[in-house]
């Protein structure tokens, strides 16, 4: 995900859309079936604002340090498998952009629970929501692509496809060089 510098107005639409895209929800805020937990984070600092999300590193340090192989990389980015996560926070410690969070997560539409000893009943357990690694998954289940990109009211967010970025930059550079060369020829006349 890329943010056009200076374009973000800090409205939090991206965070809300992200949260809604990762739960059962209809068209309205009130139809969200649980509290919103975004997977990208609006940061406001010194008069500017920008949402920060996982960069889906090719050699992802979070995946490298995960002791249970809960963080894995595949062709569509870096993803957390809640069922394998033990909430050890190693990934949080190594993420260079702070994109990994600890949150109440869902797996297949249901909250992931953990069992803790029940102080009221020796030998017994109670279940409570587990706080596990939570991060952007580029809305891989969503046919329309990342919800945040579609939700930004000022078009400040875009999905970066590295090959496409390179193609556009090469083309721009070639045009600039061609223009410079033709300018030099004009001056030489």
């Amino acid at each position: 995900m890329s943010v056009t510098p200076g374009a973000c107005i800090g409205c939090r639409a991206c965070e809300l859309a992200c949260a809604a895209a990762h739960m059962a929800a209809g068209a309205t805020v009130g139809s969200m079936t649980r509290p919103p937990v975004p997977r990208l984070y609006l940061v406001r600092e010194g008069g500017t604002a920008a949402p920060v999300a996982c960069r889906h590193c090719e050699a992802a340090p979070c995946a490298a340090v995960c002791p249970t192989a809960a963080v894995r990389c595949d062709a569509s980015g870096v993803v957390v498998e809640p069922a394998r996560c033990i909430g050890c926070k190693a990934c949080l410690a190594v993420c260079p952009v702070g994109a990994m969070a600890l949150a109440e997560v869902q797996d297949h539409g249901r909250p992931v629970l953990r069992r803790v000893p029940d102080p009221a009943a020796p030998g017994g357990f109670v279940e409570e929501p587990a706080w596990l690694a939570s991060k952007c998954d580029l809305c891989r289940e969503r046919p329309a692509g990342p919800a945040c990109v579609g939700a930004c009211p000022v078009g400040a967010l875009s999905l970066v496809v590295p090959g496409e970025v390179r193609r556009v930059r090469l083309l721009a550079a070639a045009r600039a060089m061609a223009a410079a060369a033709s300018g030099a020829r004009e001056e030489g006349r």
Binding site: L16, A27, G47, T48
Partner: protein, 471 residues
């Protein structure tokens, strides 16, 4: 418009949550929101018309990773909002659920409820259904499950409004009264005239809005039908509108010998949805039930009040019929077709009772300025003007379910409008004067439109907000 002591303002922006994105300022039709980019915004209460468009636009919510941390549950409690109300946002409307619940729970009161036409095409969205899902039967059933003794409908009162306002228009034309006549159903529009164009207040129809007419009839006609003391009637309304909360509290919108408020509490569609969830009512599983008779019987004319152009079309259906000028067309039921005449404005010219007339409808308060300038300058070339503050009409009101970011708002509003049009077309009676419950009301109680009793109960004198205002 200073808030009454101890009563929170209808619309507010929480500076702890506001990020200063200024989307609220962009949608405010009267420029009442101000503040530097990136800083919390403030509302000019004198100018604000309480339409709640800022509430609809605001996405600055309390998220779990915020620093400093916010406690959404504590914020909901502080705002008097339901625990089932979902995330909390910077721009928000006052929640009146506690007041409504107390009225329903009071054994000394008979709780009567009304719901605006737009409620039946928006409420289901809060339960995951698509925009424009039409659920009048489930709405009536849900209100009964919440404990309302009598489930009436604002749509009936919209039919009554048509009777009164059509008669007023024809009377002003015949008697050389103040023209153009402005509709007065939209309290945000009324407040704008009173505060920004006080000299044009006499152009406003003296009709109360359908909400207030319904309330006044609850505490008179409906009370007498069932043998209740008017003071024992608790009058609650469900509205797609935040300005209705302010309207209900206006001192000039009380009636009867005891000077009772027509409406005691107003909850929005979003608040009703939270109330139903809190009560554990499975909305999707509710059966379809009818509204109670007679004040819950409505025609298609009343239904279309919820969409821009609807009040005009509803009034013209009756005006045309009363003048004995049936028109056969494939277009609207009234036979009068409006054409675009500028941003948010539509216009039609037609003949009525031997007079050549022109009428305009305005969708979105921000588009009304040039027309008001023409009226003030005496150059307005039309006799009747409908204004709805919210773009698209009440189906896009500040109290409707807030759409998630990324959704096509125009498409959702269009679907809601279409649902009202479909509902109108499917009803056996499509004009207010043909609604048997309305006929009976006049025969048994009001006598005729603009009668002495109609004036006492259903009409008022606007202009109060310009004299210092009230909340």
């Amino acid at each position: 418009m200073s808030a009454r002591p101890g009563i929170a303002p209808v619309i507010a922006i929480d500076p702890n949550l506001c990020t200063g994105c200024r989307r609220c300022a962009e949608v405010c039709p009267v420029g009442a929101v101000s503040g530097p980019q990136g800083q919390p915004q403030a509302i000019d209460a004198e100018r604000c018309v309480l339409c709640g468009q800022c509430v609809q636009a605001c996405y600055a919510f309390a998220a779990p990773f915020d620093e400093p941390a916010h406690d959404p549950a504590a914020i909901r409690r502080q705002r008097g909002a339901s625990e089932a109300a979902g995330p909390v946002f910077a721009a928000h409307a006052r929640c009146d659920l506690d007041a409504a619940k107390a009225l329903v729970a009071d054994p000394s009161r008979v709780a009567m409820v009304q719901c605006a036409p737009a409620v039946r095409v928006t409420l289901a969205e809060e339960f995951g259904l698509a925009p424009g899902s039409l659920t009048p039967g489930k709405l009536a059933a849900g209100l009964r499950r919440l404990g309302f003794a009598v489930v009436y409908d604002t749509t009936f009162a919209a039919d009554v409004t048509v009777m009164e306002e059509s008669a007023e228009l024809l009377a002003r034309i015949a008697e050389g009264g103040r023209l153009p006549l402005f509709t007065s159903c939209c309290p945000a529009w009324v407040r704008h005239v009173e505060t920004a164009w006080p000299e044009l207040t006499p152009h406003l129809s003296s009709c109360k809005s359908p909400q207030q007419m319904a309330g006044a009839l609850f505490k008179s006609y409906a009370a007498s039908l069932d043998g209740f003391d008017p003071a024992a009637v608790a009058s609650v309304s469900v509205m797609p509108c935040t300005a209705k909360k302010h309207e209900a509290a206006r001192p000039e919108l009380r009636s009867g010998p005891a000077d009772l408020p027509d409406v005691d509490a107003v909850v929005t569609v979003a608040e009703l949805a939270a109330w139903l969830k809190e009560a554990g009512i499975d909305f999707a599983a509710l059966p379809g039930e009818p509204f109670d008779a007679p004040l819950g019987r409505y025609s298609g004319a009343g239904v279309i009040f919820g969409a821009t152009g609807g009040v005009m079309e509803a009034a013209l259906r009756t005006a045309v019929a009363l003048c004995g000028e049936g028109r056969e067309t494939a277009g609207p039921e009234s036979g009068i077709v409006f054409s675009p005449a500028g941003p948010g404005v539509a216009r039609a010219e037609f003949e009525l009772a031997g007079s050549k007339l022109a009428a305009v409808t305005v969708s979105g308060l921000a588009n009304v300025g040039p027309l008001l300038e023409a009226v003030a300058a005496g150059t307005a070339d039309f006799q009747f003007m409908e204004v709805m503050c919210c773009p698209g009409g009440c189906v896009a009101g500040g109290g409707t379910p807030k759409l998630l970011p990324g959704l096509d708002v125009a498409a959702a509003v269009a679907a809601r409008r279409q649902a009202l049009c479909d509902h109108d077309r499917a009803l056996p009676v499509r004009a207010a004067h043909a609604n048997p419950a309305v006929t009976e009301l006049y025969a048994a109680f009001l006598e005729r439109p603009l009668s002495h009793r109609s004036h006492e109960l259903l009409h008022t004198v606007y202009g109060g907000a310009a004299k210092g205002g009230h909340d």
